[in-house]
């Protein structure tokens, strides 16, 4: 996403989906996972006459509300999308001027889609070509149409290609940057957008600044610490600038000593897990082994993390009670990039402490408390969390957090009744502002940008072009937007580079005073603390990050343009040769990850003939650590099951309600209840991923500390999901796995 | 001649059948709104397929499918009768028993009581063992309690509900459970006809003395069959605890069984009252016999020679 047009986030917002005339829901199940998003989708369907097209391996509750439903095989999203693009190309449905003005490299895509004829797509995906043609027609002829996706796309070995091609589809149709269009990624957790913006990631510092030396220097200055001191904390400068282990791969850093060479010569020895359901990643049995092997494991959670009972270690396992979200306050960012103030409802219960207090305490004991809190700029007398919010607002210039101060976010949340749903526009005291100041929100006066890349608005009112992030030209072709494709009111009518101290005067036509010049010396829009560059750019109607073309080709990626690749454990072994996985990758987030060798290790489908479709149930969230602890939710959805098509179940000799063993391609196996359902096709089993607390048939209830066991337990489906990680981001492959099922 | 003896021998059965048939005909034909076809097909469906949901044929429309899934099918087949049955019970069932009592009064006035002429009261014969007496009296107590607590439900209007009525209602279920073994024991003990089949020492010890008169046999059969229906329907209704999610699968079975429960309770009570009249009122001396277990020999000689014969035979 970010590599296509600058930012990786939902481009529009939830209420905006009401403006759509056609909505593709592809690899997402909002009816179960984001029920309130369905409110807007269904309103678009009913009042705006939008066509709802659902493309999913499973006939979900969302699909039940669709106009067109296409059932595809898991992991064939790219083939389907190329099929659509080919139809769009052949029927001249694509937006020529949009592609001409604002997109780079579309020819490559049009070339690549050539082989995906409807017949060929039918062969790969299993979706009848008539449905593909219907879906493509309905979507391409609707103006505007929006595309919704979710973990159904991202949790694949080719997850990053999926999302890129989805973006490209919207570029082809010119649906970007307009209300009712866009790519709407429904994120998972309540603050996943926020935490990602905050850079709780192994490959970047907050605000997507990356890990380069300049970024560290910038953050050293923001945190008001000495860069040399910060560097001294690390083993070496190389390690400081190298990506760390990711959530899906860290256990390899414990188990596989060979990876130590990527990790400063040491295997992992300790884990500090703050509010993370680590059993939701694939190959949970590896997680267990890793947990057993570590020297120290600390879980900081309001509830007992289910990984704490999965592990059988006897010592050095600490559980610290964290205050729940309603017992501390702060900002949260929803999937539409709107910030909201989550107020503290009550004081922390029992002996629980908020996360930050625990961190402060650790910092004190480890001797860097002063450095840790220096960034707030108030010494010891800071107010949590307001001062931290303002610190973030000062620091995260790349994503335009400057305007999102605590005071403004609070004002919005307190006045939420004054905002309109479809446009997010405010009235009265918050007039001309958008709810939650969706980023980028460039200055304290900026209203926020509810629709990204919208050039029909001035930058000062939330308009912008695509970001200049990948240089200004490549192979002699300009990467800047064409003339006429600039936000309304822009001084420069075409594309331009990102704003720096060198080009500011030239681009904005504003002369800087000597004093100002001195302040911005050597800075650019990302690093300028004085705000002069951004302010002046806005005055001239310029987006601080420039105005470029979105690109379909990502140089440096393993697949420069998205390519269909069969899953590592493919149900169609005959297609593997034609669409093989990439070669194995060394030092992928400090781990060696197998791709082609895993795919070719054996004829997987011979031994494991059933495909997994995984997903969530509406009652539970994540591992269900929170929700399974609720008696009412546990009552509604109290046990793990696997949905089998009655035909398949009959072949396997399993009756409705009987127990069955599911064996994964790894070592994991689970014993679950069979539930007859027509939601899945005849080759698949659906496994909800929200359960834990039973381990290969053995209940772990007795392992919980007294009085903390949740109300419902079930096998963890990720024990049987296969090996596999995204080839760029290492997102675990939970969606394409093969299993063998036997009657228990 | 042949037919005449047949008639006289089986007068009781024939009259009972005719009476029941007449009442049943009037009842079914004119006073009920039950869908009888459904009522008969439904248990067959349950027995043959094991499916209790009551959906006898596939739904023809989405609407119908929804009704089946949400509320249970064919509401009009049984449910209105349930509504009416309990309504009318409150108002009219009373009269059924009033009428029966009136008949007894008439019979008492006409025939009076049979009294044996006992000249030698000390010459007694042991008729009922302790076990027999325990079974009989426990049955009497529990059935009376069941009747009281049962009527507490149907005639709740008179009590107006409240805690006492609630307690009585919940004891009805408990008592039903208690009655299950007692009913079974009674069925064994009173199976006088079994002596035709087995004639060993155990059956002699266990089964009550004597043999049945036709009317006695009818009452026994009604007791067994209706008792079984009452117990089965009552305990099943109780066991199939209402649950919102399984409601539509079981509600039709529950309605059906409640209907069976109502019907069986009326029949069993009618015949039990008959029995009480014929034992306690029409013949003098039985109460004492049931308490002590002993009867004067002359009483038996005059009023129950079959019992005496049985006892003699055993010796």
């Amino acid at each position: 996403m970010a590599n296509t047009w600058g930012y990786g986030a939902m481009t529009n917002h939830l209420g905006d989906m009401q403006n759509s005339k056609a909505i593709i829901i592809f690899g997402a199940n909002p009816a179960s996972n984001h029920p309130i998003a369905m409110q807007h989708i269904l309103k678009a369907k009913e009042q705006n006459g939008a066509k709802i097209i659902v493309i999913d391996p499973r006939y979900t509750k969302t699909a039940a509300k669709s106009d067109i439903y296409c059932r595809i095989r898991t992991g064939t999203d790219i083939a389907f999308l190329y099929g659509m693009i080919r139809l769009i190309r052949d029927n001249n449905w694509y937006d020529k001027s949009f592609i001409n003005d604002r997109v780079y490299g579309m020819e490559e895509i049009f070339k690549e889609c050539e082989e995906y004829t409807p017949e060929h797509v039918e062969d790969i995906t299993g979706c009848p070509k008539e449905l593909l043609i219907q879906a493509a027609t309905a979507f391409a002829t609707a103006e505007p149409g929006c595309l919704i996706w979710n973990q159904g796309w991202t949790q694949h070995t080719v997850g990053s290609s999926n999302t890129r091609l989805g973006s490209i589809l919207q570029l082809v149709l010119g649906n970007m940057g307009k209300p009712g269009g866009g790519t709407n990624i429904l994120r998972g957790h309540d603050n996943v957008q926020g935490s990602t913006d905050m850079g709780c990631l192994s490959d970047t510092l907050p605000g997507y600044y990356g890990l380069a030396e300049g970024s560290w220097k910038y953050f050293a200055s923001q945190w008001k610490v000495d860069y040399e001191w910060l560097k001294g904390r690390f083993k070496s400068k190389e390690m400081m600038e190298a990506k760390g282990f990711s959530l899906s791969l860290w256990m390899n850093g414990v188990l596989d000593e060979a990876n130590a060479k990527n990790n400063a010569g040491t295997p992992l020895k300790a884990l500090v897990c703050i509010g993370n359901g680590i059993s939701t990643i694939t190959q949970t049995h590896k997680v267990k082994e890793a947990l057993d092997k570590l020297d120290l494991v600390v879980f900081i959670d309001p509830y007992v993390n289910d990984a704490a009972v999965i592990t059988t270690r006897d010592n050095n396992l600490y559980l610290l009670p964290a205050a729940s979200q309603v017992e501390c306050s702060g900002t949260v960012v929803n999937t539409g990039r709107s910030a909201q103030w989550r107020s503290k409802v009550i004081e922390p219960l029992y002996e629980a402490r908020p996360d930050e207090e625990i961190l402060f305490d650790f910092a004190k004991r480890m001797g860097f408390y002063d450095e840790f809190t220096a960034g707030m700029g108030k010494g010891k007398d800071f107010t949590w969390p307001e001062d931290a919010t303002d610190e973030i607002a000062r620091s995260l210039k790349t994503v335009g957090f400057q305007g999102r101060t605590a005071a403004r976010v609070k004002k919005h949340t307190e006045n939420w009744h004054l905002f309109d749903t479809t446009s997010l526009k405010g009235r009265g005291p918050v007039s001309k502002e958008y709810y939650g100041l969706p980023w980028p929100c460039w200055t304290q006066e900026h209203p926020g940008s509810p629709v990204l890349y919208n050039i029909n608005l001035p930058v000062s009112q939330g308009g912008m072009g695509f970001r200049t992030r990948f240089g200004t030209e490549r192979n002699g072709v300009s990467l800047l937007a064409a003339d006429g494709a600039a936000p309304v009111g822009s001084r420069i009518k075409g594309g331009y580079d990102e704003i720096t101290s060198q080009n500011i005067e030239n681009l904005s036509g504003i002369k800087l005073t000597d004093e100002e010049k001195k302040l911005v010396e050597g800075k650019n829009w990302k690093t300028d603390d004085s705000g002069i560059l951004v302010r002046n750019a806005l005055k001239a109607g310029l987006a601080p990050y420039g105005n470029a073309r979105a690109r379909t080709i990502v140089w440096g990626f393993r697949d420069e343009i998205p390519k269909h690749r069969e899953p590592l454990h493919s149900f169609r072994q005959d297609l593997v040769k034609r669409y093989p996985a990439v070669a194995d990758i060394e030092n992928h987030y400090r781990t060696t990850v197998r791709y082609a060798s895993e795919q070719n290790a054996q004829n997987w489908v011979a031994d494991y003939p059933i495909n997994i479709v995984s997903g969530r149930v509406v009652e539970h969230m994540g591992t269900g650590t929170e929700t399974r602890a609720s008696k009412y939710l546990a009552e509604l959805s109290g046990e793990m099951y696997g949905e089998l098509h009655p035909e398949l179940a009959a072949k396997l000799g399993i009756r409705d309600g009987e127990m069955m063993w599911v064996y994964g391609t790894g070592e994991g196996k689970i014993k679950i209840k069979c539930k007859y359902s027509y939601r899945v096709d005849e080759n698949s089993v659906f496994l909800p991923q929200n359960f834990s607390g039973v381990w290969s048939g053995e209940s772990l209830e007795s392992r919980y500390p007294a009085g903390t066991a949740p109300h419902s337990f079930g096998e963890n489906s990720n024990q049987v999901t296969s090996y596999g990680y995204d080839q760029q981001t290492s997102c675990p492959e939970t969606k394409c796995s093969l299993v063998r099922i036997e009657r228990a | 001649m042949q037919s005449s003896t047949f008639f006289t021998r089986n007068k009781a059965y024939i009259f009972t059948l005719l009476g029941l048939g007449l009442v049943g005909f009037v009842f079914v034909g004119f006073m009920m709104i039950m869908d009888w076809e459904y009522f008969l097909k439904y248990p067959l469906h349950v027995i043959l397929t094991g499916d209790t949901s009551g959906v006898l044929s596939e739904p023809t429309s989405n609407y119908q499918a929804m009704v089946n899934a949400a509320f249970g099918p064919s509401y009009n087949s049984i449910a209105p009768e349930i509504i009416r049955a309990s309504n009318e019970r409150q108002e009219f069932i009373w009269w059924v028993f009033v009428a029966e009592i009136a008949i007894f009064c008439f019979m008492y006035a006409k025939y009076g009581r049979k009294v044996a002429i006992v000249t030698n009261p000390s010459d007694e014969v042991q008729v009922f063992s302790i076990f027999h007496r325990a079974v009989i009296w426990l049955n009497i107590i529990v059935i009376s309690a069941l009747i009281i607590t049962g009527f507490n439900i149907t005639w709740g209007m008179r009590s107006g509900g409240g805690d006492i009525a609630f307690f009585l209602r919940s004891s009805h279920e408990m008592l039903g459970l208690v009655w299950l073994p007692l009913w079974f024991a009674m069925t064994l003990v009173a199976f006088k006809d079994a002596k035709i089949l087995f004639n060993n020492s155990l059956s002699k010890k266990l089964i009550l003395k004597g043999s049945y008169s036709p009317m006695g046999r009818i009452i026994f059969i009604v007791f067994v069959i209706m008792g079984a229906s009452l117990l089965f329907s009552g305990i099943t209704i109780w066991y199939l605890h209402p649950d919102a999610y399984t409601h539509s699968e079981f509600i039709q079975l529950k309605r059906y069984l409640l209907y069976v429960h109502f019907g069986a309770s009326v029949l069993i009570m009618f015949f039990l009252m008959d029995f009480v009249y014929s034992v306690m009122v029409a013949v003098k001396g039985n109460l004492k016999g049931l308490i002590t277990g002993k009867y004067p020999r002359e009483h038996l000689e005059q009023l129950a020679p079959d019992v005496l014969k049985d006892i003699e035979e055993k010796r």
Binding site: I36, N191, M198, P206, M239, K243, K269, R313, H417 | -
Partner: protein, 180 residues
């Protein structure tokens, strides 16, 4: 017979008739005339409570939640009708927000496993034991021997400080749920 008629009329079209069944409304209604509510009838069940606006903690939609709090006890979850995204709507998880404080199976105090048995610790002891070990591991193996996992369920400020903590601890081994 009158009764029979009334049942015959009773068809199963209740559902469909909902929208149109405005006839025969007062068949069972009492004859009392409309009157104003008495003071007693409209009294507040939670006197002195205040309403706090907060945000649902489950998915990324960000539905509004209004918590009614009396004496630092969350007594009732109210409906945020005017929230621009959710309009008061909740799925079952959001409707159950209050269970976070009502549920009794929270982790209540620092706990550690000692020789296979769970033992209660006080905060100070737990924190010093953990930090001593972390410092020890850092010295012995280097900071990269520690893996931090943050959360997408905490606030921006907490997430930012978790990242900062990992950086100042000296490692990039920090991650959370989101990957793309």
């Amino acid at each position: 017979m009158k009764m029979l008629k009334s049942f015959g009329r009773r068809s199963f079209l209740k559902m469909a008739s909902l929208a149109t069944a405005t006839t025969a409304t007062s068949a069972f209604a009492s004859n009392s005339v409309l009157r104003g509510a008495t003071k007693d009838e409209i009294r507040n069940p939670y006197p002195g409570s205040k309403l706090i606006k907060t945000i649902c903690t489950h998915c990324s939609v960000g539905c509004g939640v209004i918590a009614e709090v009396q004496n630092n006890v969350w007594v009732r979850q109210e409906v945020a009708h005017d929230h621009p995204i959710s309009h008061g709507g909740h799925c079952c998880k959001g409707a159950d927000m209050i269970d976070k404080v009502r549920g009794t199976n929270r982790l209540k105090y620092p706990t550690a496993k000692v020789n296979g048995k769970w033992a209660r610790l006080d905060w100070d002891k737990a924190m010093s034991q953990i930090s001593d070990q972390l410092i020890g591991i850092r010295e012995k193996y280097g900071a990269d021997a520690v893996q931090f996992l943050g959360s997408a369920k905490c606030s921006n400020e907490q997430a930012y400080y978790i990242r900062k903590f990992a950086a100042m601890f000296g490692t990039n081994n920090i991650d959370h749920q989101a990957r793309i």
